[in-house]
Symmetry: C2
Subunit: 114 residues, 2 copies
């Protein structure tokens, strides 16, 4: 992941609505209407957030029949976590566990087939 | 950490110069002059980045003799990693390690005394 990609990933994560959208998508793909339902926000406003998430690679959007579904993509979240995990020397007592995390992030492929 | 705090932390991380500053501070506290040296950037420009990092709680700045030193703070990086680690279900094969990480982040205090 290049520095520019990390910029847009962290930038996309810097918003509570976008983080909440990502959290909801962990349970499965959703339409913009389904995503908008719990928010006091219009569908166009939610669509703008989805565009930011898509630009950062955090979600993909696919048509299924007449619905356009948003799908969570794991890799940018892994890359962002990997960047943060480098600062493990500042987290006393969890070095070994973070070493294992870092190793697993570097060697394993993202899960969940589409 | 409240949603607002995560906003400013992720926002502060969405810049390559600020991430590079954090990386350099893992080796110890530095003055603005020392931090500016490797960048093709003026000290005032670096100072603006330091102000953003300080606002996010990612660094603190303390006077020592005549120098104002920037110091990396671990907790916001831990909190941001903890948020990201919730999406471990998307990272096949590393569930156990991430569970251990999450547990350690929730129970342990940040390391490194000032």
């Amino acid at each position: 992941m290049t520095p520019d990609q990390l910029d847009v990933v962290f930038g996309a994560l810097a918003d509570p609505t976008r983080r909440a959208i990502l959290a909801r998508l962990t349970d499965g793909d959703l339409t913009v209407g389904q995503l908008a339902a719990p928010f006091a926000m219009s569908q166009p406003a939610i669509s703008r957030h989805l565009k930011v998430l898509e630009g950062a690679g955090l979600i993909s959007r696919n048509r299924r029949a007449t619905a356009r579904l948003s799908h969570l993509e794991a890799q940018p979240l892994r890359d962002a976590t990997e960047w943060l995990a480098r600062y493990r020397d500042y987290w006393q007592g969890s070095h070994d566990r973070l070493d294992a995390l870092l190793k697993s992030l570097q060697t394993e492929k993202p899960g969940r087939n589409r």
